[in-house]
């Protein structure tokens, strides 16, 4: 599979989409390889580094595969994939919220943390990821998504607005409020650590 996939390494997104629609799984495999990290940043940034996030990541690409024939190329493929990832992740968060509310739990419980074992991590890296993870999970979902897009994907305000289909002003205000919440959360955690 890998050998065949190499012929698509240099191909641009539109070529890959065309080949994938025609049923070439190697072309689709290359799309997955190209955008898997981007999807991981969105999904894991929102849900935490969990096995559920891995499953949801798979679902993102399965959804993409099923909707590929409807992709008209008006937006970039990365934007299209990002929208699928964001929508599925937000749906998952809503589903969890409903599930946990049945057991009268608080909003903070919406994220179930099952850390995927990663032996390659050294302690310092794990610490940094934990800080990011905890900071993101402490935010409300509507702030978390814009903060994750900025902090993990490096998207500008305009790009975030385009992906989330929100006005730039809304993204800006959510980012500012997210930053404010983050400051408080991280400051509190700093005192906790001392």
């Amino acid at each position: 599979m890998q050998k065949h996939a190499n012929k698509y390494k240099e191909a641009d997104d539109s070529e890959l989409v065309k080949a994938a629609i025609e049923g070439d799984s190697n072309a689709f495999g290359e799309i997955v390889n190209r955008y898997r990290q981007m999807v991981a940043r969105t999904v894991k940034g929102m849900l935490g580094d969990t096995v559920f996030a891995e499953d949801l990541g798979q679902e993102v690409f399965i959804n993409l595969y099923n909707s590929l024939s409807g992709f008209r190329g008006e937006a970039k493929l990365s934007t299209y994939i990002q929208r699928i990832a964001v929508n599925l992740t937000l749906n998952e968060i809503k589903r969890r919220k409903r599930f946990f509310s049945m057991f009268s739990r608080t909003d903070d419980d919406e994220v179930i943390e099952y850390n995927v074992a990663d032996d390659s991590d050294n302690e310092g890296k794990r610490d940094a990821r934990e800080v990011v993870n905890k900071a993101l999970m402490s935010l409300e979902p509507k702030f978390r998504i814009v903060v994750a897009m900025r902090m993990l994907q490096g998207y500008s305000t305009k790009e975030t607005a385009e992906i989330l289909k929100l006005p730039v002003g809304t993204v800006l205000s959510r980012l500012a409020r997210g930053q404010e919440q983050l400051k408080n959360i991280l400051k509190a955690r700093r005192y906790e650590n001392q």
Partner: protein, 117 residues
């Protein structure tokens, strides 16, 4: 990188319209980045193939089901036409009574048949 440095970078990344690429890189290098586990692409492709096989099986079942239904329906229509023709030939008319075989029967004879007298 120390935890406090990571926290400072996180806060600073939120400033401005675009994030500072240098800070973003630093944060990723510090380990604050996510990726899927090994073999993710293969698992996605396997799921897609599995789904495609199930869909193919379902559509094959539906196709064979509709073929069988089509044959049964044709046979049924042929049987009805044959019945109507045979009724017309034997009774000379096609009516509800002739369909039930009651064209020659009058009320008395029917009553006597039903009451066995």
């Amino acid at each position: 990188m120390k935890t406090n440095e990571v926290k400072d970078i996180i806060i600073r990344l939120m400033e401005g319209d675009e994030p500072d690429e240098g800070l973003l890189l630093k944060l990723r290098e510090a380990g604050a980045d996510y990726s899927f586990s090994e073999g993710f692409t293969d698992r996605v492709l396997a799921s897609i193939n599995k789904t495609a096989i199930v869909i193919n099986r379902e559509s094959e079942f539906l196709r064979s089901f509709s073929n069988v239904f089509y044959r049964i329906a044709l046979t049924g229509i042929a049987a009805i036409i044959f019945l109507l023709i045979s009724i017309y030939i034997s009774q000379g008319t096609i009516s509800f009574d002739s369909f039930l075989g009651l064209t020659d029967a009058n009320n008395e004879s029917i009553i006597s048949v039903l009451t066995e007298n």
